[in-house]
């Protein structure tokens, strides 16, 4: 066998490895119910859940707890997913500054018992200048690690 063939086989093998691993690492968009099922099945991988915040008639967000005096790293809120399941979400980091204005929230994390523990939050805020456009902002609870 020629060296170039060996090399080609190695390259193809690595490329397939990359694709398989990417597919394995890729997360998915699910509902809270699915997230709960996954967690019960022992799945520890983080999932994405899209939801809306609970708001009262004045448009104020309800069921939201952030008390920096007590613990600056604990933030709690309630999210309603597309299947209308209401779910408590806990985010172990400070409350994102423009959280109050966001319409849609994507939480990335896992279901843990009675709450969904979010490692990352993506906020969709109404853009002031573009009608019907939402802007995305990302927040993460963990430190960036190499």
């Amino acid at each position: 066998m020629k060296k170039s063939h060996i090399l080609a086989i190695i390259v193809i093998a690595i490329a397939i490895g990359i694709i398989v691993s990417t597919a394995g690492d890729a997360s998915s968009y699910v509902s809270f119910n699915q997230a709960a099922e996954l967690a019960q099945g022992g799945e520890a991988d983080a999932v994405h859940v899209v939801g809306k915040l609970t708001k009262d008639t004045q448009g104020q967000i309800t069921n939201m707890v952030y008390q920096p005096q007590v613990d600056p790293n604990h933030f709690e809120f309630t999210l309603v997913d597309n299947e209308n399941r209401t779910q408590k979400v806990v985010y172990n980091a400070p409350k994102p500054q423009d959280f109050d204005r966001s319409e849609q929230v994507v939480v990335i994390g896992t279901m843990q018992g009675d709450h969904f523990k979010a490692d990352k939050i993506l906020l969709k805020c109404p853009s002031k200048y573009q009608e019907n456009k939402l802007e995305t902002k990302e927040y993460e609870a963990k430190t960036a690690k190499l």
Partner: protein, 870 residues
Amino acid sequence: MIHTTVGNIGHLFVLISFVTALVATYAYLKAALGQDDLSANQDWKRLARGAFYLHGIAIVGIVGALFYIVANHYYEYHYAWSYSSRSLPAEYIISSFWHGQEGSFLLWLFWNAVLGVILINTNKRWEAPMMTIFALVQAFLASMILGVVFGGSIKIGSSPFLLLRDAMPDAPIFTTNPNYVPEDGKGMNPLLQNYWMVIHPPTLFLGYATTLIPFAYCLAGLWRNEPKEWMRPALPWALFSAMVLGVGILMGGYWAYETLNFGGYWNWDPVENSVLVPWIVLVAAIHTMLIAKKSSAGLKSAIILSVATFILILYSTFLTRSGILGNSSVHSFTDLGLSGQLLIYMLAFVFLAGGLMVAKWKLIPSDAEETSVYSKEFWLFIGATVLCLASFQVLATTSIPVYNKIMESFGVVSNLAMPADQIAHYNKFQTWFFALVAVLTGVGQYIWWKKSGKGNWNALITTAMVTLFISGALIAFGQITKPAYMALLTTAVFAVVANGTILWGIIRGNYRLSGGAVTHIGVGLMLIGVLFSSGYSKVVSMNNTGLMISNSEDYTKNDNKENKENVILWLGQPQKMSGYMLTYRGQRIEIRDVPGYVPRNWVTTIDGDFHGIALRDIELNGKVYHKKGDTLALHPENTYYEVEYREPSGKIFSLYPRAQINEQMGNGGILPSPDIQRMLGKDLYTYVNSVPDPNSEGSWSPTETYRIAPKDTFFVNDYVAIFDNVVQTREVEGTQLGPNDAAVKAVIRILDKEREYVLTPAFIIRDRMVGRKAETSEELGLRLQLNEIDPQTGLFTFAANTTQRDYIVMKAMEKPLINLLWLGTLVLVVGFSMAAFRRYREFIKMRDKEAAPVVARKASAAPPKAISRQ
């Protein structure tokens, strides 16, 4: 009044630039096809050249018209209104230019036109076929800003000269007053008001533009059946392009490091990735060009990679501008409705280049014998392969939203999402790929310079020993335990040592040849800098107050430790943290003509304006900048939070992390930016994560009253307070006491956790009138007033109001050896420049040699610029 003329002129220039690009394409195409008939050929060439020059002039005209609109504050134009305002400092007027998508296309067009003119004048031999490609690209780019609507529904391009009333026809104001002109623009996103944002986009787009040159040369080479010859003129430009694009990417990273708060310079964001991929591919292409003369595999890959670089640049443009990344990226552009056009642009060149490659593939000679493992061809090819695999991995993940879109178009609902921990996902591959790259830079150089080869590995073994010694010491000293980090560190050190040895060897001969070694040293240094600053970034602000008053499972579990990385700092209350003593000193604001920051309560801001009024004399270091009552120009959207750091040695420095009220990121959102203490060995990076809303004035609680006697103890706002005694006083701030007036001060001690505060509210009898002077402690969020003195009972009545105490929630990190990353970048730039320069000299020499008889025949022809420079 609406100034329509300048916009019409600008739009006319847009149309001219589009038409001239088409004319130039066609004429160059005719010139390239009609090789045989020389005179007609020359006519076509002259026409094409004229059209391209006219095209260049039109682009300068567009730039001029747009600049005129922005600089003169013509807010009737959508572009000026969207991206600039009267409060914008002059230097950012320039950057408002490329703030919008239309402007960035314009920037791309501009660089391409400049490069096209340079190439026409430096390389006549390749002019016709290469400039055909160039002009075609320009036609596509110009179509992006064309702003022409057909049949009311098909829109081609988005013009930067759109009037506001045409951009927003539904806005109610225009139905009542069609000639309405806004007083002021919306202004530039304050995040982008940063000096890096003045130079980062032009650099990046010059990088984009230069990737077209190797691509155009490559296609021209295939077209003219000269599959090898195109590389000599293309190589110096490819090196230049890699240098500029690399610098552009890193400038973006540096801006993010200074301005955003994700804590680093690289976030593996799709937008960042999409331009990293073509850069790595371009670097791989350069390596294959170096071996293409002797290796058929090298030649094939040089062709494929040169084409791929440009196609990937188009793919990157498509990803960032089509809105397809919407959910996955923090900073993708919104869709201007150009996605279809962008897709056509990309696919047109995919098919053009692909078709040409297939048609001419048989021209590529195959090797007589197989490449030896001891040849430089073998090692450079392996290097390029590893780089391609590394970029393929980034591309495969970054394209996840595209897979969903493709599935959707086939009617399949796909719910694939980006990996939840993107950084870990990418790093797990890239650490190893780049460890391999680092090894190959060293081995490749040894073999290139024939220091090593078959049966001669001694020199390399010595280098390896030195490397192991140094990296072993670093691993022990830095307490590095992860195998991946050990591997990366060792290999990066090897890259520096091996290339350093090579450099030492050749620099004494001919320093001009050392570009490769220098560049590789830069890569090694950058890898070490990245490894330490990201891998060993240490959180300084561990919440060690013991204030975890929650018994929920979350707080008791161990793995939450890493999330307790933010601390709360109360105004004026020192707190210890990782050896530093930190004190939050209060809110600060920046006055435009005063250096540094001043306390926010020294000025009052005017709503909706960038001016404010001084509430006291603004005096810093003995110099009075403004008198009380002066109107000042401020940056009112920025509030700085002074955090004083006291080192164990007693040295004190202050950092000013910022929170910005950013209208453009939504209504009144607050965006934090870090402040960085730069030290030789590390950076101390600090940012606020949460603050009380800087816009809301602190509201006071309802009054509570206390009737107490001296020496009594009472509770106020959860503090223990002791009413010590009452003393007579003649000094009451803000009041002049006459000879018949009297004043007393109550002395109240308030005990906080670590220190004691004394408040002395005063009670004044002046001209038989009772006056009360309350005292406020911002640190305690407390206001005390002495309301009544009852001489009969000896009881004193105090009124207390409380408010939210000022605080910040902040995070601080140490980033060790980050300066190695910046130093490595500089070295990399120097190396690429040296290599580009050397290859350009070779090209000039060869060109003049080939052209010598031709030049002799046409002695009257003016020598190209580049020759006169030599």
